[in-house]
Amino acid sequence: MTTELSVRVEDKLFQNRYLVDAGRAHIKVRPHDVPTPALRSLLTACPARCYELNDKGQVEISADGCVECGTCRIIGEPTGDIEWNYPRGGYGVLFKFG
């Protein structure tokens, strides 16, 4: 199993430039009581750690730091766990180097 390294993703994301489309999340999690294994895997697989467990044990997303890699889409769209879109044109992450 994973041994935790002290890595703060927030520090990594802090380097990036974003234009956040306030109030228009481009990814949504389907309401659920108990997360499916696919949904649960997003807690660790998302490289920007956008997925977190809330205190009711449900998976929530806050997509502000999303780097638009598409991993959660590949995992969660076919199972119906999430609804995935691109941000509106011009919004989202803005790579200076890429």
Binding site: K12, A45, E68, I75, P78, G98
Partner: protein, 435 residues
Amino acid sequence: MIEERFDAIVIGAGMAGNAAALTLAQRGLKVLQLERGEYSGSKNVQGAILYSEMLEKLIPDFRDDAPLERHLVEQRFWMMDDHSHVGLHYRSDDFNEERPNRYTIIRAQFDKWFSKKVQEAGALVVCETTVTELVQDAYGKVIGVRTDRPGGQVHADVVVLAEGVTGLLGARAHLRKIPQPDNVALAVKEMHFLPRETIEARFNLKGDEGTVIEAVGTISRGMTGMGFIYANKECVSLGIGCLVSDFQKSGESPYQLIERFKRHPSVAPLIEGSEVKEYSAHLIPEGGYKAIPQLFGDGWVVVGDAAQLNNAVHREGSNLAMTSGRIAAEAIFQVKSRRDPMTKENLSLYKTMLDQSFVMKDLKKYKDMPTLLHTQSQNFFLTYPQLVSKAMQNFVRVDGTPKVEKEKRTLKSFVSARSWTGLFGDAFRFARAWR
């Protein structure tokens, strides 16, 4: 949005889209290219190695003004365990040639330049516009696109889907399936800035010479994956990617993986004291030949990563993207010149031409490789690197043990880890997949 009708609409301004739009515009077609990012490249991530040959076919004099970093004179392959690496190191002064074969680039900057060439050739390039849907007629023929701009519907004879590996449109219109988790790798990457002289000293380079390191081993923790370290002029691109399905299974986190890679004793000295200016992530198509979807239909073609045209064995993607984009455009131009309609039948010319190119020939050659590496990941990415490293240590450490005994010990460690049948089986399977 835009009232007029176009000969072709190209979705996406990455390597494939830019190659297609450029080729179409150069041949006098009326082209609209749509890109969701603020500028071409603002959403794109790559290592990145640029292969000259495929770009030269599009822009012969690209060296005059393209933003290139370093031309490569050296390639290193590392097989790593937790404390060491065994390396193959190829360096040749032959690569200090007048028209170098490979360069490192920074994608966001390169794409911006590429896009300027597309505009100069006469294509209409509209950024900050996400295409939300393909417009199809009653018979399923693609006749245009809908965008997120008000009244944003535009029509064209043919649509070139150059939307990259996470392309939504083709999948939504049921032209192809979305990639399976075991057909795509997730790569995370950081840009480490250092003074130019420091990079040159650490990587043993002078002037604009460059080097790249590709690494496999325990760094991917038993997952099918690879790390990379590329020297640019004033920064080092460093990253690691593994199959999405392996991330799912292992519960490993991508950011922990890259952190561990950075702290490895072979890697840390190369980036010591650097300033990290960007953290990015992107998928890479890894399914190879068997994962290639239907490439053309009534009113559409698909090119580049969206079509899984990516050679994971050789870490080549952008050159396949550029080549498929160019070939698709040439096929469209031929159909157009004959005044034929953009039907599935006529557009099959794209596939015929692509089959004759290195793109399909290379992917076909390695058609069994993805399955082999994916199913044997523990052996290839964990067991063997550890065994090789132990064997090397045994070989170089001088401790009074007679050499005959050392060799016996090394052989024994291989056989006990994989058994004779295992070893021969792996070698056989590998050779067959490579052939």
